[in-house]
């Protein structure tokens, strides 16, 4: 027997992800950013010893095709026909959630409702008659508080019978009223051929045509009586417009809302003393969305969190470095005593300790940064940030929602590339995707810390800040140029729900930080480990060469490419080899330099000044900041754009921009006598 499938659907910010976690025990990020669940997530649930598959759909407001998320969800629901659609509805805002529920019931999908955030609703004096709702919708209704696991046991108890082999429920028929019903009836007389193409009844096919549903209109191309339908549709549109003063599509959706409102009114009891959405949430919004205060406040919060990341992260990282050094010495002594072959002991000290160690120590920073971002998301403030940033982002030719991926890019470009899915228009998405690699991710920080610390001493902080700023300026210019050339046109309209504030839950914040942070560690564990291994291997062979010498394989690669970087002031093979391996992961540049210069017998801080001047060190940092992002980002970019053409374009144009600016920095610095060549 095939495994039964439950699809989890619902509006953004209804706690869908929390319920998914509570049901499947899966570890996943929960946030307040509308539409954070953009990937398809699947989990397993055991019901009375039977395995059931749970699919988490993107958060949507309606079934249709007005965004990528909606497209994913409706395609899935219509094509895959899950055995049960579990709709997570926000009990504190039932009417809004019910629109989707009614739409799904119209489609005749087998439905169950998780009446979530029941605690928030009660606190606001909202009482919902679950039994009445259940009866009117013809779908099971279970109150839950998913983030605290309340009601989940009851839900699990009822799921087996809901998944039983019952005949699928009759589609709900929404009364479209005396003005629209005749039109819909006349349309449905013609949709017998169209309906099976959409996998729906002729009545529903008529509704979807009238609604202007993209998929229904596209399917129209494939039916024989297309011209008849087209003409009927035009007639009915004209009739309704004349009757109501607005078009058929709007009229239909308006009627559905009227039905939803009436339904909500029947099952919701409000305690007027407690009255609705918390007034505090609106009062906070008065301040944080203030015309003058909003933006500085948001920038101050972002800056504060960014600073706190380093203030708290540095001492922890310092301890980790100490521990790693001690561990390295311990291993070295152990290997000497065990008279291990020289190759092995060199591999451990030169390869493993200097390479992986240099990476793991940045985990505290990354963990903290992600914790702060999760804090902003979970409290609801992140959505306000996008609101106040919209005007500025728009001036840059971007969308308010682009700010979020860009901010996340400072942590790691990989999740931020995923986050661009919140942008609905392909144009906005492509521009954001293409400028993201210029945002300095935390993996580039080790490079800056090393070079700025070595060459600029007390002014290292300012130098690093200037690099972050340079990345942003390049991103802005690139957005402007791309927006005016390859992607000419208006940025898409901005619509976003602002969820009510709530106190951030430490468990959610820590879990979010841990998941993203450990992703970095796993990358450091496997990806970076492999690349360090490769560096060591290429540096040790062919057999007999001095380790990391110019005669080694890596040295030969480096020597043949070094000339390219001479105009930027670092035309020696070690630099180009380090950059080459930075493609595997940017933080590897530091590890690779450590390995490549290990032969000189002193620490990097002593070696680097023999090769770099402060000016060429800065040019090198500019290069490292802007050139091709790491392989993981390239892979994510390819996954999101689904195009090798754009992926190669991105690789080439970032390389070109990086090289040009690195050369410009060095040459201008040299000619104006700023540097010490």
């Amino acid at each position: 027997m095939a495994t039964k499938v439950i699809a989890l659907a619902g509006n953004p910010n209804t706690g869908k992800t929390s319920l998914f976690n509570a049901l499947t025990g899966s570890r996943q990020k929960v946030g307040n950013w509308p539409g954070v669940t953009v990937e398809r997530k699947e989990g397993r649930l055991s019901l009375d010893g039977r395995e059931v598959s749970v699919v988490d759909l993107p958060g949507i407001y309606s079934v249709g095709a007005s965004s990528v998320d909606e497209q994913i969800a409706s395609d899935y629901l219509l094509a895959e026909r899950p055995d049960l659609v579990l709709v997570v509805v926000d009990a504190s805002n039932l009417e809004r959630s019910l629109y989707l529920v009614v739409q799904l019931r119209e489609m005749g999908l087998p439905l169950a409702l998780a009446l979530n955030m029941e605690d928030v609703a009660s606190a606001q004096g909202v009482r919902i008659d679950a039994a009445a709702l259940e009866e009117r919708l013809g779908a099971a209704v279970v109150p839950t508080v998913a983030c605290r696991g309340k009601g989940v046991a009851e839900l699990r108890r009822r799921l087996p019978s809901l998944l039983g082999d019952l005949p699928s429920s009759e589609p709900l028929s929404v009364p479209y009223g005396p003005h629209l019903s005749p039109s819909l009836k006349r349309l449905s007389d013609l949709t017998a051929e169209l309906a099976p193409l959409l996998g729906v009844s002729p009545e529903l096919a008529a509704i979807r045509l009238a609604e202007g549903d993209g998929e229904a209109l596209a399917a129209l191309e494939r039916v024989k009586n297309r011209w008849m339908i087209d003409r009927r549709l035009a007639d009915e549109r004209e009739r309704v417009e004349g009757l109501l003063g607005y078009d058929l599509q709007t009229a239909l959706i308006e009627r559905r809302w009227a039905f939803v409102s009436a339904l909500a009114a029947q099952v919701v009891r409000r305690d007027l003393l407690l009255g609705g959405r918390p007034a505090l949430s609106d009062r906070i919004d008065r301040i944080v969305t203030h015309r003058l205060l909003g933006l500085p406040l948001f920038l101050a919060v972002s800056w504060g969190l960014f600073r706190a990341t380093f203030f708290l992260g540095d001492p922890i990282a310092g301890r980790l470095v100490g521990a790693f050094v001690r561990f390295g010495r311990f291993l070295e002594a152990l290997l000497e005593r065990g008279s291990a072959p020289e190759l092995l002991s060199r591999f451990v000290t030169d390869g493993l300790i200097s390479g992986v160690g240099a990476v793991v120590v940045f985990f505290p920073h990354i963990f903290l940064l992600f914790a702060f971002i999760a804090l902003l998301e979970d409290s609801g403030y992140m959505a306000r940030g996008a609101f106040v940033m919209d005007r500025i982002m728009r001036m840059l030719g971007l969308h308010g929602k682009s700010f979020m991926p860009l901010l996340m890019g400072f942590g790691c470009n990989v999740p931020s590339i995923m986050a661009t899915r919140i942008l609905e228009r392909p144009r906005d998405r492509m521009i954001t995707l293409l400028i993201l690699p210029f945002v300095s991710c935390s993996a580039r920080l080790p490079i800056f810390l090393l070079f700025a610390g070595t060459f600029f001493g007390a002014r290292a902080g300012t130098v690093i800040f200037s690099l972050y700023l340079l990345g942003l300026v390049v991103a802005v210019v690139a957005a402007k140029v791309l927006g005016g050339t390859l992607f000419a046109g208006e940025s898409s309209q901005f619509v976003m729900e602002l969820p009510p504030y709530h106190r951030p839950r430490p468990a959610v914040v820590l879990r979010g930080a841990w998941e993203r942070g450990s992703l970095f560690l796993r990358k450091a564990g496997s990806f970076i480990f492999l690349s360090v291994l490769a560096v060591w291997f290429l540096a040790s062979f062919p057999p007999g060469v001095e380790y990391a010498s110019a005669e080694s394989w890596i040295g030969r690669i480096g020597r043949s490419t070094a000339g390219l970087f001479a105009p930027a002031g670092f035309g020696f093979w070690q630099a180009s080899v380090a950059l080459l391996f930075g493609f595997l992961a940017k933080e590897v540049v530091v590890g690779a330099l450590g390995t490549l210069f290990a032969a000189e017998g002193v620490g990097l801080a002593q070696v680097l000044p023999r090769y770099f001047s402060p000016l060429s060190a800065y040019a090198f940092m500019v290069m490292a900041l802007l050139y091709v992002p790491c392989a993981a980002v390239v892979a994510a970019f390819r996954g999101e754009t689904n195009s090798w053409k754009w992926t190669f374009f991105m690789i080439l144009y970032t390389s070109f921009v990086a090289w040009t600016l690195a050369v410009a920095v060095y040459q201008i610095g040299r000619l104006s006598g700023i540097g010490f060549p």
């Binding site: 629109y99 599509q249 919004d285 308010g400």
Partner: protein
């Protein structure tokens, strides 16, 4: 009572009624899915660009290009 006006010209904090969505299919669809349909009661929480809209217990941020195509009247 003021006459029909776009949301961008409406006053803050006053109950408004949506009367007309003057835009293309996708524009109307996106708004309608959120409940912004003719007859819906809304309040402008924060004017400007983007503006902040209250609809029942929900709050939406809306770009200026969209807001200027939503026509409202003062309700009651």
């Amino acid at each position: 009572m003021f006459p029909l006006c776009p949301l961008t010209a409406a006053p803050e904090g006053v109950p408004l009624k949506v009367t007309l969505l003057a835009g293309g299919g996708l524009f109307k669809r996106r708004l309608a899915d959120l409940g912004v349909v003719p007859g819906a009661s809304i309040t402008l929480v924060r004017a400007g660009c983007p503006l902040l809209l209250a609809l029942g217990d929900s709050r939406f941020a809306l770009g200026g290009g969209m807001a200027e195509k939503i026509f409202v009247v003062f309700s009651k």
